[in-house]
């Protein structure tokens, strides 16, 4: 976050600078991404484009949601080399040699499937906008900490915002997945 003269942090600064970006300042580049186990070609995109922007606008991956673009809401969560990150804080061109996993790349069986089914069964999906990010974050959590207690679950999901459920249904869904595995 940048700091202005008053010491205020750039967090929360949503002012967009509308000056057109010239090709000289933001030249176009091409590279490959390793996305959900496949090599995807990214051609002719601005070098300052975020991973979120490239996934949605150039590769058509619409499960990665675009909301805050400030790393705060978690709706664009993906795994990068197995680590949960907000794809809006990743420079796409700098992800060129990393393995990027979206909700689609978590697999159609196993834990990710159980998480998805539980989200539906427990009413953890309402408008659905945050759901892909949550499924990525929850699947990652259960892989690392299968027996996480409720405090740990809440802490692990602090970076994913849901405006519909109040989180209670989401926690219940996760507990049911844990119970079924015991």
């Amino acid at each position: 976050m940048s700091t202005d003269a008053s010491g205020e942090t750039g967090i929360g600064d949503t002012g967009i600078d509308d000056t057109p970006i010239s090709a000289d300042v933001d030249p176009r580049v091409s590279y490959h991404l390793y996305l959900d186990g496949a090599v995807r070609e990214v051609a002719d995109v601005c070098f300052s484009e975020s991973l979120l922007g490239v996934l949605r606008d150039h590769l058509g991956v619409m499960s990665v949601k675009d909301a805050c673009e400030q790393g705060r809401c978690g709706s664009c969560s993906v795994l990068m080399d197995g680590r949960l990150v907000a794809s809006c804080t990743v420079l796409a061109a700098d992800a060129a040699d990393a393995q990027v996993t979206t909700v689609a790349g978590l697999g159609s069986g196993g834990p990710a499937r159980a998480v998805r089914a539980a989200f539906l069964a427990y009413g953890a999906v309402q408008c659905g906008f945050c759901t892909p990010g949550f499924v990525v974050a929850v699947t990652d959590l259960l892989a690392r900490r299968p027996d996480a207690d409720e405090d740990e679950i809440r802490e692990a999901l602090a970076g994913n915002i849901c405006r519909c459920t109040g989180y209670g249904r989401i926690i219940a869904a996760i507990r049911s997945v844990q119970d079924a595995r015991r």
């Binding site: 976050m1 967090i11 509308d18 975020s50 680590r83 809006c88 804080t89 420079l91 700098d94």
Partner: protein, 313 residues
């Protein structure tokens, strides 16, 4: 990966990175949690970017006899589990969300130099040193001078160096939703039982984390060092002295929309007293402090809970 002449450089070594920096007009990119959103809004428009993700030599951390050294590429996530510095672990644990802790780095925290940066506050408390590297070589500066001077555009931070802990350490903060917004006020407290010293840093009251030196001196004299305990009265007085120090900070942060400067000074004293009470309550203590919850003071700023970084000695 990117053709020559391009604007994105992804060096494998520090030496290559500083060479690009020396040409000027280049910005470093580490975890991207500060820089990438700023690129998107247009707040930052660097002509060239030097991405450090592939520079493995920046990711190491280690311990000498008296010091810990942490590479600039080490993430908050890496620090959370680091048993050699409970204070650093406690500090890293209350930064942002898992997404931010997985990506954000030590070098990025210093590069951003937010006056309320959690890591900077802890590093200020322990008198850390910042190791910088440019084409002309390496130099080491105290973290305070680094923050006063600002990062040089042709140097990069390669590491920070701090003393190994010799006693309890704690980091407490208040703010609104931790995963999404900056700290309002925080306090790092570090007890050194060998040198018989108590260091304290508070953020959120001045342009950079500050040390309430008179308050530190007061505690040092009041502690019974044979048991490392502080009387309840002295704990209260310590908090008052910290609030006083905040009131006479040289470059005070002004009132803002959410919190007044007076509230922040008060909160700093509350946090400092609470930290001192926990760190200096004697060698034997029940486990009740293993999860510390910061209670609300009258203000619009809600509550953030912080884990206890106590080290039993």
């Amino acid at each position: 990966m990117i053709a020559a002449g391009a604007r994105l450089y992804r060096p494998l070594t520090v030496a290559d990175a500083v060479e690009v920096l020396a040409d000027g007009d280049a910005e470093l990119l580490a975890g991207g949690t500060d820089l990438v959103p700023a690129l998107r809004t247009g707040r930052r428009r660097p002509r060239r970017i030097v991405a450090l993700r592939r520079v493995l030599e920046l990711r190491s951390r280690g311990a000498g006899a008296d010091t810990l050294i942490i590479g600039a590429g080490v993430t908050y996530h890496d620090l959370v589990g680091w048993s050699l510095s409970p204070g650093l672990a406690a500090t890293a644990r209350v930064v942002g969300s898992p997404q931010i802790r997985n990506a954000g780095t030590v070098g990025g925290a210093l590069g951003t130099a937010n006056p309320r940066g959690d890591l900077l506050t802890f590093l200020t408390a322990v008198d850390a040193e910042v190791v910088l590297r440019g084409v002309h070589g390496m130099r080491t500066v105290p973290v305070g001078s680094f923050l006063d001077a600002g990062a040089s555009p042709t140097e990069l931070v390669t590491a920070v160096r701090l003393p190994r802990p010799c006693g309890p350490q704690l980091y407490l903060k208040v703010g609104s939703r931790q995963a999404a917004s900056a700290t309002v006020v925080s306090c790092a407290l570090v007890v050194d039982r060998v040198r018989e010293r108590v260091n304290c840093a508070i953020s959120g009251v001045a342009g950079r984390p500050m040390r309430p030196l008179a308050a530190e001196e007061f505690v040092r004299d009041q502690v019974d060092w044979s048991t490392a305990t502080l009387s309840a009265d002295a704990v209260i007085r310590f908090g008052e002295l910290v609030t006083e120090a905040a009131g006479i900070a040289v470059d005070p942060l002004p009132d803002d929309l959410l919190v007044s400067a007076a509230y922040r000074g008060h909160a700093a004293g509350v946090l400092a007293a609470r930290a001192a009470g926990r760190c200096l309550s004697g060698p034997v203590r029940s486990r009740d402090a293993s999860t510390a919850s910061v209670t609300a003071t009258p203000s619009t700023a809600p509550v953030v809970s912080a884990p206890d970084g106590r080290l039993r000695v």
